[in-house]
Amino acid sequence: MGPDDLNRLRWQCRRGLLELDLVLERFLEKYGDRLEGEHLSSFQTLLTYTDDELWDLVRARTECRDARFAELVQWLRGCRDRTGFQSI
């Protein structure tokens, strides 16, 4: 992924919900450099969801209809873990 792609993701990770800001910021820190191919395109698709849809997915209120997103969603869910917020 080039720097422009990462920049685009960084901007699109700015959300109306602080909860999502926190999770997505942590996600990008942890996985940003590693996002390639299927994972990258899945993440780009997930970012087009409304805040409400995305947050419901992150907190497991809904499950993803598309199996391709499953692993990525698990990574995102891992980023809401409270240990990720100790230093904020």
Binding site: R15, G16, L17, L18, F85, I88
Partner: protein
Amino acid sequence: MEVYKADVAIVGAGGAGLRAAIAVAESDPKLKIALISKVYPMRSHTVAAEGGAAAVTRPDDSLDHHFNDTVGGGDWLCEQDVVEYFVAHAHEEMVQMEHWGCPWSRKEDGHANVRPFGGMKIERTWFAADKTGFHMLHTLFQTSIKYPSIKRFDEHFCVDLVVEDGRVQGVVAIEIATGEFRLIQAKAVIVATGGAGRVFRENTNGGIVTGDGMALAYRHGVPLRDMEFMQYHPTCMPRTGLLFTEACRGEGGFLLNKDGYRYLQDYGLGPPEDKPRNKFMELGPRDRLSQAFWHEQQKGRTIEGPFGSVVNLDLRHLGEAYLRERLPQIYELAEEFMGVDPAHTPIPVVPGVHYTMGGILADGKTASGLPGLYSVGECSSVGIHGANRLGSNSLTELIVFGKVAGDEAAKFAKATSISNPGAIEKQADAIQARALGIVNKADGTERIAVLRTEMAKSMESGCGIYRLGTTMQETCNKIDELKQRYKKLKVDDKSKVYNTDWLLAIELGYLLDVAQVIVYSAFNRKESRGSHQRLDGYEQRDDVNYLKHTLAYYNGDGAPRIEYGDVKITKSKPGTRAYGAAGVKADEERKKQGAANG
């Protein structure tokens, strides 16, 4: 530079901007509307409002009750004629939202349900499950799509207003995806960019809430009014700012100190009762609850632990089934972000900055003193919040005054025309050069993150829940210094595509201007009122000298010029702002007084 010719430009596409856009479109389908937003509209911060929107609904409620709760809650710094308009038009806007598809929660008999909120005498908060902001935003967004006259400029970052011939005639924005500049000519501009909570460190606001529109209007000579009044929300998750909404207290949650004692009874909010009672204890106003936390902390009665100094929000007595049904979001937040099961363990909470009461000076019709410029929503000071906002008034404000702003801007646009397009384009070129100057600077040394952190820490220390002249002076000095250092900002990324460093650098400029206004406004208000509380000899409200609005004017490189404006009082003379049993007594005395006066 590409030019788009609109009649009305709206900066910000959250609830207020969308409602305004719809109003312009409905007022005259021939008017071309440019709706500009730095993020996609559905990612606006309106989405985060969970609680609800106030409108008089129950037969035992009245417009007077809503008026009195708002004006008393605002410590008599509200524009009372504007509050009268607001409460009178709230209900019709709720119904309008319903007609557009907003799924308001209902009672079993089919009527719209309303719930209690802090500082409110009678239940009047409309809600849509626990996602009111989302549903309102979604409803407005979907409705806006119906109107072909609304052209959206999503992911466009507004860098300046264009002021020519003494009136606003457009805006210049960067298309974030390409880095290209666009001049959006407009006969009227509505600013609807939200608040400025990110000036502080511990806050509940999304990262996009950076005071953009406030700073832009301010730099063009429009004063920012009453900016010293920042609302702290009393129940936030420590260190993240995530919000445990007022609903948890409305449903019967208790606030306990380290001894398990409901300490609010020591701060004029008692007596404590088992069931929640409007305007008592945990349903007192937000500023009083946040201030009580501070006092408990000073007395060593907060709980020290891995989350810092906290008090406990105790929901255990409500039981797991009830909590999961009525407060599912709160349950999840506590479980997932803190590892706390609220059915069995109290939730540690602290106050956090939540809402900017002040904003761009606007009259009751949302117009600023700069012809053609209107403002609405949290960025605006139309005058309904005074020194402390009543919970659930802000979502209503978006739609009541969003409509007013749209109608007024449409009227203005129809009665005027663009003057001197050549001069406007020349100005736009100069704006572009200034914005590019930030990224193209060769000798920058200062870092964005460093300046932001120093600003937020200093604001927390100088403009926290309680304030002292000495610490405010230190913060004034610090922000002055940071504004100088900002001129030497280094932006590493020189690219054009999604250059977030560049945009964050521009946002930092907005934040610093707003921070400076907040602290200078606070320093100069030598009294305690609403959310502005001092401990250095000015502990009391001083109606003789400070029943006044603060007006902060831009002064170039110097500190803002502070002036004062009159407060419009129509029917509620300043009285004792009391809650709990003392509030009941004060109400009775006010009634007697009213009867005696005929």
